[in-house]
């Protein structure tokens, strides 16, 4: 009896299994929706889901780093918007080449993140407050800089291709997976490498696990925390470029509320808000769970008000499942 219990325990406790189970949840959603509607499991809808995950997934990547440090970033949504607007300004208003504009967008995000990180680590302002302030500042600046109008990329058709073109489709005809999806997976892979193979990643976990001990070990916590928020900002910047390319326009009023979706993805993916643990794979699965849910409920034409109720319930249940798994 005890041995059975024990072996079950160790099975449940293994990290790999844990991820497998989150993945199983995702698969379960897929199966349920596929049975419920013939329109769900179709190539174009799967592509649609992947595409719908791109922006939130990329924002969630950055949020993962911040949350592993036991911080929070409420500004990802509006910083994304600000980066989109700046990309638009660089390319359309200033007429700079597309790649410069993209770099400009990334830099905008990184800069906002850098400011977040500096306020948090130097002025010792709690992340919630610092990034709440940044949420407002970036929102206001997006409106100011854009002059309250969307910035369109009509003169540079190549910009749109960043998200909506399909390099894969050129290689494998008919397999028209938009670049945005590739970029999401590419960014996730890079984030995974940074988190697991570099000093920055190591310190991300260390700071989240015990910030004071990390400092006492001679690590320049101020520097690294700033770097981590700047990195998260860069992902928000990438998100900005992606959403602008997707919409072929920078929409200055977008972005409020997006932080909650990004954080929900991270948390559903098993990253703990108290820091020290979390994975990129989990976050990506979390982001997909949200998109599949949203898409599936839409495909089933569930009334929108009920979609909201279901989403709230699933957020709680997903995290509860994760907690139960851990407790085992």
């Amino acid at each position: 009896m005890e041995t059975i219990l024990k072996s079950k325990n160790s099975l449940f406790r293994s990290d790999a299994t844990q991820k497998l189970m989150a993945f199983a949840g995702l698969i379960a959603l897929f199966v349920v929706f596929s049975i419920a509607s013939p329109n769900f499991f179709q190539f174009s809808n799967i592509i649609g889901i992947l595409l719908a995950t791109a922006v939130n997934g990329i924002l969630a990547l950055g949020a993962t780093f911040v949350i592993i440090t036991a911080g929070i970033d409420l500004s990802v949504g509006t910083v994304m918007t600000l980066s989109a607007v700046m990309t638009g300004v660089f390319i359309t208003v200033m007429g700079l080449p597309v790649y410069v504009g993209v770099l400009g967008g990334l830099t905008t995000g990184a800069l906002a993140g850098f400011i977040n990180g500096s306020i948090i680590s130097r002025m010792k302002i709690p992340p919630f407050v610092a990034t709440l302030g940044m949420l407002y500042i970036a929102k206001g600046l997006s409106l100011v800089i854009s002059g309250l109008k969307p910035v369109y990329f009509n003169d540079t058709p190549s910009f749109k291709e960043i998200a909506m073109g399909s390099i894969l489709g050129k290689i494998i005809p008919g397999f028209e997976v938009p670049n945005a999806v590739l970029i999401l997976f590419g960014a996730a892979f890079i984030a995974h490498l940074i988190l697991n193979k570099t000093v920055l990643g190591r310190y991300t976990y260390a700071i989240g696990s015990n910030e004071e001990a990390t400092r006492l070990s001679g690590v320049n916590v101020t520097f690294w925390k700033t770097a981590i928020y700047a990195l998260a900002g860069s992902f928000a910047g990438l998100g900005g470029v992606m959403i602008a390319a997707r919409l072929n326009s920078a929409q200055p009023a977008l972005g409020a509320g997006y932080e909650l979706d990004a954080i929900a993805a991270v948390v559903i993916g098993g990253t703990s808000l108290s820091g020290g643990e979390g994975t990129i794979l989990g976050t990506i699965i979390g982001a997909f769970i949200i998109s599949v849910l949203t898409n599936g409920l839409r495909i089933l034409s569930v009334p929108q008000e009920w979609q909201i109720v279901v989403t709230g319930t699933i957020v709680i249940l997903a995290v509860y499942a994760d907690i139960l798994r851990r407790r085992q």
């Binding site: 719908a52 898409n295 008000e305």
Partner: protein
Amino acid sequence: SGNTSDETYIAVISKGFQHQFWQAVQAGAEKAAVDYEVTITFEGPETEAMVDKQVEMVQAALDKNPAALCLAALDTQALLPLLERAQEEGIPVVGFDSGVDSDIPVSTAATDNLAAAALAADKMAELIGDAGQVAVIVHDQTSRTGIDRRDGFVNQMESKHPNIEIVDIQYGEGDHLKSTELAKAIIQAHPDLKGFFGANEGSIIGVLNAVSELDKVGDIVVIGYDSGQQQMDAILSGAEAGAITQDPIGIGYKCVEAAVKALNGEDLPKMIDTGFHWYDKSNIDDDTIAALLYK
């Protein structure tokens, strides 16, 4: 789910779902669906800023293989690839509300918001004696309807009524409480204000609240947009001089009707102007007007 074998399924994507106006549009669309024996779904994002959410909705709608698509685009540019996809797949697109700024829609059932707001400006000028200060609360500073109604009002004042000064324009997200506080601050800052224009239902309710809370009922000429119980009560009581109404039910009805006609291969006009009307205490009960108003 709509596309069961023999039923014709038409997807309607609007700019919102939780406001009265959109529900009136939905009611019209559903009425047409009954009349023409088709099934429809009706959905829209939570706010008019959420361009990307609308893109996802259109995407999911197209994946449901609809016979036709009715669309009130938040931003045509952003939706272009999906419009092209619809065209490729032979799904006719009908625009509604402020329309879809492209050649792809076979027809568009829309209100000319610029002209409608200009009419509001003329009425305002008439009621305050063509001179003095007025202010505006708009629901949104970046959405098409917000911009058109603001610009229609402002341009008309500038070109036709030079003695009227627009002292402030602020944006209340259609939130009744925020609009109330905004309007109060504006009235506070401009004691000589003679007129106030609210560019959608939430905005005008805020203006009405502000005027009554500051005891300025009768001192400030209030002009609104759309309908709704509170606004209609205010017009009847005289707190509000009058308002512009579109034909939301007609918009919903006509766009579904146009989609059905397109599917039947009928010829359609490029524009179906669903019209707008000025209503006030004097004509609010007329049959033509009453049919346009929602409570």
